[in-house]
Amino acid sequence: MKKLFPILCLNLVVLSVFADEPKAKIFNSKYAATENRIGILVVSNPTFVFNSGEAYNNGGSILQLDVVTVLNTLFRYDVDVRTTSSVLTHNLSSATIPVSNFQIRAVGAGGVNIGWVTLSSSNTKLVDEANVVVDSAIWGLEYRTFGGADFLNKPAGNYTTSIIFTVSTD
């Protein structure tokens, strides 16, 4: 009995560490992972239209409020962003525009302020240590580009790439 005593004490210490967190959060976290209850949903696609000299010279910005829904993180969470390609590709030719001409930031996500992030095909942190989401949290995104030489000498048309948002808890 004496040998067991330190172990039981240790158990009590562990439980007391989590005592300020609702038990449901602790023990449901494994279900959250295995049942995919944690999630992120983006419901809007940004389109920049270059139809003036001003747009080509100075770019523009697109603010999309309430387009991201984060579900059941149960812990503080991060969101990384990346594109599936390092370039936007023309729909009718092989012409491309580097995605590095575009920036993005989270609007109203909370957490550590990161600010503008230049898009790339590598994961880049967009949201850092945002508050726990028990049910769902909704926030927005803002995109911008400064225009410039990378948009000139390109045939007219639509240039696209996909943006991947990844939510994770530590």
Binding site: K3, L4, I7, L8, L10, N11, V14, L15, I26, F27, S29, K30, A32, A33, N36, I38, G39, I40, L41, V42, N45, P46, T47, F48, V49, F50, N51, S52, G53, A55, Y56, N57, T83, L88, I97, V99, L119, L141, Y143, T145, F151, L152, N153, K154, P155, A156, G157, N158, Y159, T160, T161, S162, I163, I164, F165, T166, V167, S168, T169, D170
Partner: protein, 166 residues
């Protein structure tokens, strides 16, 4: 001993269970829609002042620096034409063919000075794309008999510049 091992396992489950890595993704499509932007604006007009015999004999040159503003997201061509075959003052006329024009900073292929005409004359071929490019124009005339025997006055013709992309 079994109880001790069980307790340690339980500890590990509780401790690491809370750190289970979980992540999912959402997607959006980023689109840039490019449309051709092609504009040209003239901000000045050349004025030739014939005030000396040398002007009448040998002509003169007028440089219009940065007065033709072209925007084109693609390499562009530029042509010029006159609305009339002559500069006119009342009933007096001077053929526009006595004047030439050259664009000196558009990039693209070099084009020599061209004589003005009612037929469009190309002054830029595959000029460098850009927005609000300020082009330099050099107008010139060699003077000569076309200017002799004409009453003093302001002889005027209207020029039209047209920008296009291939």
């Amino acid at each position: 001993m079994k109880k001790i091992i069980f307790s340690i396992s339980l500890l590990a489950l509780v401790f690491f269970g809370g750190q289970a890595k979980a992540q999912l993704t959402g997607t959006a499509v980023l689109t840039a829609t490019l449309t051709d932007v092609i504009t040209v604006v003239s901000t000045s007009a050349p004025i030739f002042l014939f005030t000396t015999a040398d002007h009448y004999n040998n002509g003169l040159t007028v440089n219009e620096t940065g007065t033709l503003i072209v925007s084109s997201n693609m390499p562009f061509d530029l042509s010029v034409s006159s609305a009339t075959a002559n500069l006119a003052f009342l009933t007096n006329e001077i053929p526009v063919s006595n004047f030439t024009v050259q664009v000196t900073n558009a990039g693209g292929d070099a084009i020599s000075p061209v004589a003005l005409s009612t037929t469009p004359q190309q002054v830029v071929n595959e000029g460098t794309a850009g927005i609000l490019r300020a082009l330099n124009l050099t107008y010139a005339t060699a003077g000569g008999s076309a200017f002799i025997g004409k009453p003093a006055g302001a002889y005027v013709a209207t020029l039209t510049y047209t920008v296009s992309v291939d």
